[in-house]
Symmetry: C2
Subunit: 329 residues, 2 copies
């Protein structure tokens, strides 16, 4: 049984026509680890590549409990209400380990999931951060080819997944709660440095005064950091995802950012840099993978690792002998 | 003219006998970029490797103006006064660019430089951070083979050189001035996180009260961070390099640290991890270097970089075609 061979041209045409089943199947192809699927996925991307690049690419991060799903649903519904099409993807390299996953529980975005102008796809559920990031980035390209105006990529506020997301989007948004200074202690400084926009969520009811104070604190913290671009100083906005407040201002900020980045040529340069950095990552990982799996080096690598750890061979000598072995045949 | 071919066995014997000229020539061999020199350097290290590993390896960092040279000289003289032999190396990847260099100006450590039980070597003055770090690490091994009890590796308080140093020493010491909180703002949080010991220098005269206040602030900041080891909480000490005060307490702390790390097996594990990480770095860099210089891939790489930057090829497809090219022949 099973489906017949994939017709890449047909699938590409269906994706371009906005067919969601074709889009979902295309992403499944991208996520597959089967070599033949990977080849088909690359062929699909090659066909669609010239149709990509038109979406606003937004990254969204925040610690668990800050209300990321509620915020995404509120912003997504606001945008579809404005006649825009939004795709929501995710990067959560821990999902394979923990079983849980951001966006995995679709009921958390019930309303948006039913919206015909929204497309939600959970994080690829296996692989290294690098692998998960590659597949999400390629899924983003498919969403662009399918005509989505906005691609929002969620990630959890832990570890290095923020950097991976920041490296594939135009604008990185950090969602914080009204906890203020106390919370700031828990957020890695490096993650604050990635933010083009900080949104203080839960700015409603009892928490409104605290949210306002937190916004001032975050603004001060941001101003102590070196801005990522000479054309944009990171901004801080208040929002209540629960009540749907602050969304227009946030979207306005995103559009203003995108416009400035486009006008100054920064957006194009940033996307070119991101693509090149991605290529070098792929090269690096591909080479390391070859080293680990290549018949000629696999056993020698293991032996040399033991010698290096025991201080019987210098790391440099070990590396040289492995490279000679790999590149000879 | 020039020197005849290097006799590795003779040089190794002279280094083991503590001959400083031989040690300096060995390090020069390590620093050379000539392929034949590099091969000789690896041969020298292979001979000496079993005589390495006995020194206490200390990293020292601090912003310009904090008094690193004066502190190093004071600590070095204190240690030679205790009958110990100390080697001082440096990592400053900017020295090639700026012409200036830490330890380059030997007059800054006049007394220590004349001390027969001290050996001072400035930073390798060219190459990437990775290259400079490798050569310093290998110079450290030669110093150990030459019988030095302590190897202190200095670096400037900017960029990623701290991480490179922390990755090759047993203990990372951060030298700070009595500026306190104001200064803390300027220090990257990541660098504080590397510290096993913080020394507040210039704790003398007018500055003593400020130094004491700063020490409390730094202690608080350190306790907010996750400790690197379950066996050691980073400590804060006061010192006056100018007056030679606090050195005995600092050395006592270093010895206590080293003892705990040894007893718990942490030191051995840490050194093994460092060596393995170093080997993987060498592999990574060696492979990237091959990719850039290999006749079969050089021109194709350039063309593909252009296509990827222009969005005409996906990074994944470009990487795959380059890897196929490199590993085929």
């Amino acid at each position: 049984g099973g489906r017949g061979p994939v017709n890449i041209e047909e699938m590409a045409a269906a994706i371009r026509a906005g067919n969601r089943t074709a889009l979902a199947r295309g992403i499944t192809l991208i996520e597959s680890t089967r070599p033949d699927h990977q080849e088909q996925a690359q062929a699909l991307l090659a066909v669609l590549l010239e149709k990509t690049g038109k979406a606003v690419r937004i990254g969204l991060s925040g610690a668990p409990g800050v209300g990321k799903s509620t915020f995404t649903e509120a912003l997504g519904s606001y945008l579809t209400g404005q006649g825009l099409k939004i795709a929501v993807l995710a990067i959560d390299p821990s999902s394979a380990r923990t079983g849980g996953s951001i966006l995995g529980d679709k009921t958390r975005m019930e309303e948006l999931a039913r919206d015909p102008n929204a497309f939600i796809r959970p994080s690829p559920s296996s692989g290294t951060l690098g692998g998960v990031a590659r597949r999400t980035r390629e899924a983003m390209l498919l969403c662009e080819a399918a005509g989505f105006d906005v691609v929002l990529i969620e990630t959890v506020g832990v570890g290095q997944s923020e950097t991976a997301v920041a490296d594939m989007v135009d604008m990185f948004v950090l969602l914080l709660s009204p906890g203020g200074g106390d919370e700031l202690q828990g957020i890695k400084r490096g993650i604050m440095e990635l933010a083009d926009l900080v949104v203080v969520n839960k700015a409603d009811g009892d928490l409104l005064p605290a949210a306002k104070r937190a916004a001032i604190e975050y603004k001060t913290a941001l101003h102590l950091m070196r801005p990522k671009s000479q054309h944009w100083l990171p901004e801080v906005r208040l929002a209540s995802a629960l009540k749907g407040e602050g969304l227009a201002e946030i979207w306005d900020t995103v559009c203003r950012y995108e416009e400035i980045m486009k006008e100054t040529g920064t957006l194009e340069a940033q996307r070119a840099d991101q693509a090149l950095a991605w290529m070098w990552n792929e090269l690096r990982e591909g080479m390391m993978e070859t080293l680990r799996t290549h018949q000629g080096t696999k056993s020698r690598l293991k032996a040399l690792e033991g010698e290096v750890a025991a201080g019987k061979t210098t790391p440099t000598a070990a590396a040289r002998s492995l490279l000679a072995l790999l590149l000879r045949d």
